[in-house]
Structure formats: structure tokens, C-alpha cells
Amino acid sequence: MKMTRIAAALTLSSSMLFAGLAGAETLRWSSAGDSLTLDPHSQNEGPTHVMSHQIYDSLVFRDQSMKLQPRLATAWRVTDDPAVWEFKLRQGVSFHNGNPFNADDVVFSILRAKHENADMKGLLTTVVDVVKVDDYTVHMRTNGPNPLLPNNLTNLFMMDKEWSEANKVTVPQNFKAGEETFAVRNANGTGPFKLVSREPDVRTELVRNDSYWGKGSYPMEVSRIVFTPIKSAATRVAALLSGELDFLLDPPVQDLERLSSAKGLVVREGPENRTIFLGMQQALPELRTSDIKGKNPFADKRVRQALNIAINRDAIKRVVMRGQAVPAGIILPPFVDGYTKALDQVTPPDLARAKALLAEAGYPNGFSVTLSCPNDRYVNDEAICQAVTGMFGQIGVKVRLDARSKSIHFAELPKGELDFYMLGWGVPTMDSHYVFHYLVETKSDKGGAWNATGYSNADIDALIAAMTQETDAAKRAAMVAKVWNTVQDEVLYLPLHHQMLNWAMKDNIDFPVQSENYPYFKLLKYKK
């Protein structure tokens, strides 16, 4: 009896301790765009994932140092069959409606995300089967060994099977059906915050999930989140300056100085998982937008080398990006597997040599070409293109700049309709293979979806295919390095820079930048 009372007193005091740690703090934050839908499998898009990460949990996630961490899965390993991954699930977890979380929900969620209507299916193409072994163990079978499967699961959220069945949302939204499904504006996750109200594009309110499984292991200091997207950059900055917001995910580059010098505000920065570069059509017999007829200047490696050393990346960083960029020598963000400092070595500009290379290639007077750029996708994208246009002009390459909206640019780019284009690439799987598969592999139904250079190398394709099934880490690293060396040697792309991320916030908030641009508000701390 006495023992019970002591135990009860201990539980009480420890719960009071946590209550004391986790005060009542409301976080009001904003960014330009709202989540497209609360249905976590419907869209594969940044702002949508940011919201889902607060309400739902994935099996694994990347923390602020980009390390893979357990979430709803506590352990994962390849079984004796190299094509089968085993995930051990966290026990005692419940959804916001009280339903317990178990292996049935994982099987259901993975299959739901593989449905034709789900945009997340792209990350699960190698998964052929998901099997429940027991209530807290799941096996995923892939089409051949896939050593990187957990990397693809960081944005794959677990939904409640019973809730989805009761609300008829066992498959994601079908646009053709012409009606809204329940999951678009309602949510039932296991995540650190529960949905209170949602008006798309206007306001979304969440409260802390006080029975969250991670209550003891994460700060969980924010008790209420109010998200109000603000489209106009000037208004967004004004709202932070006037104290109506506590946190801004996307402060505009031109206002960073103003914000960091403002009293009570601080701007934190970190590298972003995205590299900006230029691509050249190298396979066509003749460029569509050039004055050179009968041959394609980009097909000559010396021309690509000349363009590469005509770019003054430091000037772009200094003048266009106001210091918020890291000049790049490779189209791979740092901290991704396969990245080395040596590969990222930036070639200094050398106009004399660039001109000599052009003359050697048979273009002493240069040539003309159209450079296509988006003007609303990357940080200062159009201004970067204007800068390189001038730099190429210095070696006699007359570039006509065509800057347009992303919805036009990214419709034409994968169809191979552009001669010379800007593209930015992030690597959600944190592995070089993702870059090879989309940007280096020969364009076909199976891969090379964003390889608009026309580059096709059977040996490289074979290496890219082989590395997906190579379970020996050292052998695999050698394969990755070999592909990178070829890409660098061929000057397949012209890397410009790695983007930087900036988060602006009240100075009493301690919240380092996460390189995927996912603010996990459960990790946010207040300075005492």
C-alpha cells in the first residue's frame, strides 16, 4: 500500500516536472506556401511534408545533423535474405483518436502510398511486398537487394488503418472523381501535434499531443502552433518585424541583413540540400537556338570546359546571392553519400584559357544559344542567369536569356525541348544514386527522367544499375566514385552553387536549421 503511494507520488512529481519543462508557448509562424493537402501520401512536396511532419510520424527521420534517426521504427536491418528489410516498431504508441499503432497500420500505409493516386509512390518503386510478421515487426521485400530503403522512408507517414476505413480514405484523392476526400482537411496521426482547425491558405492551428511517445526524449516546448501562410515577401517580413510572427521559414535573401540587425530577431543559416547548375543538350546534331548550323557546339567537351571556366562563381555568391551560397564544383550537396571535398573543388575563372579552348574547338568567334531559366523557383534564379549570361558573353558566347515561370520551364525541361537550361537538384535519399538515376542515366522509361543533356553511356548505366543492389559498402563506394569521376571529367553539367537556408525567428528561440528545410517543432527550444 505504502509502496503504491510512493510510486504514485513519484509518477505525479515526474509528470509535474515534465509539465514544468513544457510550458505553454504558442508559436506563430509563416512561409510563402501552404501545405497542399493533409493527406500525407497524396503529394511529394516540401511545404506539404513540413505540415505532415508535425501531425504524422514516419518510420525514420533525419534530425538537425541529417542523421537517420528512429521514429516509429526503433530498429531496422537487412534480413538473411538481402532483398528483405525488417523494421521493428515502437510499442505503446497511439494515434490522436486513441487507436493503437501496430504493424497493420504500417502495411496499410505503405500500400496506400504505393497506390496509383499517390504521388509518394515514386519513392517506393522497389518495394514489391509488405508483410506483417507480428504486431510490432514488418518485413518489406524489394525487387532485389536495396541497401538504401530506409532513406526513402523519411517522408512516408503512417496513417491509422481503422480511421482511414471508417472515413473512406483508404486511397488518396483522385482528381478525376471531382470530390474532396475526408483526409484532405482532417488528420489522425501519431505525431507530436494534433490538428485543431484548418482553413487552407489562411490558418492552420495545432496543439501539442500530450500523450506523444517522444515526450520525454524531445524538448516539446511549443504547446500550440498557428500557421498563417503569407504570399507577399514584403508582408511576411513586416509581420515578423511587427511581432505578429515568431518564426519565418523563408525570409527573402534581400531582407536578411535587415532582419538580423532588427532588435529581438535572429537569422540562423545552414547548408540546404540543393545544388543549382546548368545543363547542356549534347546529343542533338544541331542546337535549335544556335547560329551554328550542322553541328552542336555543346557536343565538344572543350566547349563545355570553356563555359565551365568562364563562370565566376565567387562573384555570383557575392553579388547575386549576397553571400548566401557555397560555390560548387559538383552537382551534389555536401553531406550526401559520395560527396568529397576534392570533387567539390571549384575551378577558378580563366577567361584566356576559355577563349583558347573555344578557338581550339573551332569556335574562335563563339556562338549563340538560348539559356532557359525559371524565375520563381530557386533563390534569385533569374538574376543568376543574367550574371552567367554576361560571363559567357566575355568569351564570345552570345546567350539569349529566356526566364519564365516554373510551370512552363519544368514542363519543357524533361521533354528535352531545351538546349541550355538551369536546374536545381536536392537529394532526399542522401545518396548519390538518386542524382545518377535522374540526371546521369540514359533517358528512358526506367530512368534519366530529368537528364535533358542527351548524355548516354552504357557503361555508366550499367554501373548505376549495379550499385542499387550492391550490399558491400566499400565496393559500392568505389562504383559511386567512378561515376562521379566520369561526370566531372566529361563536364556533363556546369555546377554553380549549393543553396543556403535561412530561418528567421525571435531571438529567444533556439532552433538550428535543418538542411531538408523541415522544421521539426518538437525539437524547438526556448532560451531561458
Binding site: N44, G122, N174, S232
Partner: protein, 327 residues
């Protein structure tokens, strides 16, 4: 009279069809909605499949006919971006825009007439000169700049008024209103000024010019000769006759206030149909864009129809005019 209305209605229908056709033609140059709807991992085949599912591969006349057919039944399809029926989304957003338009329109009308009369009567006063010079700002500065200046002064520096949003709203049936809460009313002030400033200066200058004109006419001189007080002359005789053109202009401006709200709504993140439209353009959300343009065209057509009918009722000369008689 009936024939007149029928003729007007027929013309209005043609105008609506023309607007629908023009906007439909424009959408083809805005870009491809598919890019925004799928992630970068989607293969070309998946993109093509979605395109087919959405009916974007059909011939343009087929798409147009389908659109008009659905629109007649009040169906505008499902928004590509928000994954919700367009009619619902617009019905949700319309109260915000109409409330803003109503408040700024009323303020512009009342203040515009008052200031117009004042500046006409005290033509040489220093205050009149000040008002007239200040009104140049309203006419010449672009709306977004006025909005940002107001935000800077009243939100960032003085911290008196909110920089964005609608504040707290109260739901009255299907209508959300910000007029019943303190934060809602405070949030209305800056956007209303931004939206109404141009109309205000326009009405003020119109009233002033008309008033000066009327004050020179013979019947005013007669009124004075009859020994009427200044007040009776100015307000009962002069102002009444000034208001006819003002009412016509103000009626037509209601349409443009709703349409021009796009810029004000973007600057203040005002959750109305204008902001919805701007976001839809960036996302190439064709169903929302089409529905918005049709709605705005409908508002203009209806207002014009009412104004025409009002002319008919107000101006006896129109009624007396019979075909074949002439003047």
C-alpha cells in the same frame, strides 16, 4: 421594356461566352499543371497518365465545351492545388472579398462626396489645396506601394494595426464576417484604405468638378435670388444634381473594386477570391482560374445590366424615345 431586358440578357450571355473563351485560350500559355501536381520523382509515363486522367489531352474545343456545360450546372470541377471542389472554395473566400469591397467602397463614396463638396465650396482655402494635393497620391501611387507603405508605418513602426490577414472571423451561416470582432475590424482598416484610396480620390475629384459646374448654372443663381440659405442652395439644389453622374460612376466602380482587390489581397494576405486567383495562376490551377474569371465577368455583366435598367427608370427621355420617331 421586356424586349429591352431580353436583348440585354442575350448580349450579356454572349459577353460571358466570350470571356470564357478568351480565358480558356489564355490558360494554354500559362504552363503545365502537371509539373506542380507530381513530385520530381514522377516518370514521364506517370505524368502522361495524370494528364490523360485530367482530360488535358483532349482537343481544346472539347475541353471548352465540357467546361461550359459543367459551368452551366454550377460545377467548376475540383481544384488541382487544394483538391477540393472549386465552388466550395470560392463560396468560402467570397465573403472576405465582398466585405472588403463593401467597406472600402462605402468609405470611398462617403468621404469622396464630403471632401468633393468641401473643396468645391472652399475653393481657395488652404485645407482644400492640401486635400487636392494629397489626392494626387491616391491617383498616382500604385496600390501595392500604398499597401506596403501603410504596413510599414502602422504595423512595423507604430505596431497599431496588423500587417496581414483577416483577424478573427465569426461564422454566420455560410458567411464569415470580420466585422464582429475587434481584431477583425482592426484588420479591415489598412486593406480598405489601400483598396479604396483610388476610388475615393476619383469620386472626390468628380464631385468637385461637377459641383463647380452646377454652381455656375442659372437655376442656382435663381435659387440664390429667391433668398434661399447657402445650405439649401448647396445641398438641396446643387449636390442633388451633381450626384447623377457620381452614382453612375460609383456603380461601375463596384465591379472594379472587386476585381482590383487582387493586388490588395496579395499585399495583405487577405483570404479572398483575388488571392485565391493569384495562387491559382502560379500553380496553373485551371479550374479555379476559369471559375474566378467567369465570376468576375458575371459581376460586371450584372452590374452593367442594373445600371442600364436604372437609366431606363431614371431618365424619362429614354422611355419617351420610340423607334422611328427620333428627336
Amino acid at each position: 421594356m421586356i424586349a429591352f431586358i431580353l436583348r440585354r440578357l442575350l448580349q450579356s450571355t454572349l459577353v460571358m461566352l466570350a470571356v470564357a473563351l478568351v480565358s480558356f485560350g489564355l490558360f494554354r500559355y500559362i504552363g503545365d499543371p502537371i509539373h506542380n501536381m507530381v513530385g520530381q520523382e514522377a516518370t514521364l509515363a506517370e505524368r502522361e497518365a495524370l494528364r490523360e486522367r485530367l482530360g488535358l489531352n483532349d482537343a481544346v474545343p472539347v475541353q471548352f465545351a465540357r467546361f461550359v456545360g459543367n459551368a452551366l450546372r454550377g460545377e467548376f470541377g475540383i481544384s488541382y492545388r487544394m483538391q477540393r471542389p472549386v465552388a466550395d472554395v470560392i463560396a468560402e473566400r467570397l465573403p472576405a472579398t465582398l466585405e472588403l469591397a463593401l467597406i472600402s467602397g462605402t468609405a470611398a463614396l462617403v468621404l469622396g462626396i464630403a471632401l468633393g463638396v468641401y473643396t468645391a465650396l472652399r475653393r481657395e482655402g488652404w485645407l482644400s489645396h492640401l486635400i487636392m494635393s494629397a489626392s494626387l497620391i491616391g491617383v498616382s501611387l500604385p496600390t501595392f506601394l500604398i499597401g506596403i507603405l501603410l504596413i510599414y508605418v502602422f504595423a512595423v513602426e507604430l505596431k497599431m494595426l496588423p500587417a496581414f490577414g483577416r483577424g478573427e472571423v465569426v461564422q454566420l451561416g455560410g458567411w464569415s464576417t470580420g466585422l464582429l470582432t475587434a481584431s477583425g475590424v482592426k484588420s479591415l482598416i489598412l486593406p480598405s484604405i489601400t483598396l479604396g484610396l483610388y476610388q475615393l480620390t476619383l469620386i472626390m475629384r468628380l464631385v468637385r468638378a461637377e459641383m463647380l459646374e452646377v454652381l455656375r448654372t442659372d437655376y442656382i443663381k435663381f435659387a440664390r435670388a429667391r433668398g434661399l440659405s447657402d445650405r439649401a442652395v448647396h445641398f438641396r439644389h446643387a449636390l442633388k444634381n451633381t450626384l447623377l453622374p457620381v452614382i453612375t460612376i460609383a456603380g461601375l466602380q463596384i465591379g472594379s473594386i472587386i476585381a482590383f482587390a487582387i493586388i490588395t489581397e496579395t499585399v495583405f494576405q487577405w483570404p479572398g477570391v483575388g488571392l485565391l486567383f493569384i495562387t491559382a495562376i502560379q500553380f496553373v490551377d485551371i479550374p479555379v482560374m476559369a471559375a474566378y474569371l467567369v465570376l468576375i465577368a458575371l459581376i460586371f455583366v450584372v452590374i452593367n445590366l442594373i445600371v442600364d435598367l436604372l437609366y431606363f427608370a431614371v431618365d424619362p427621355r429614354l422611355r419617351a424615345q420610340r423607334p422611328g420617331r427620333g428627336h
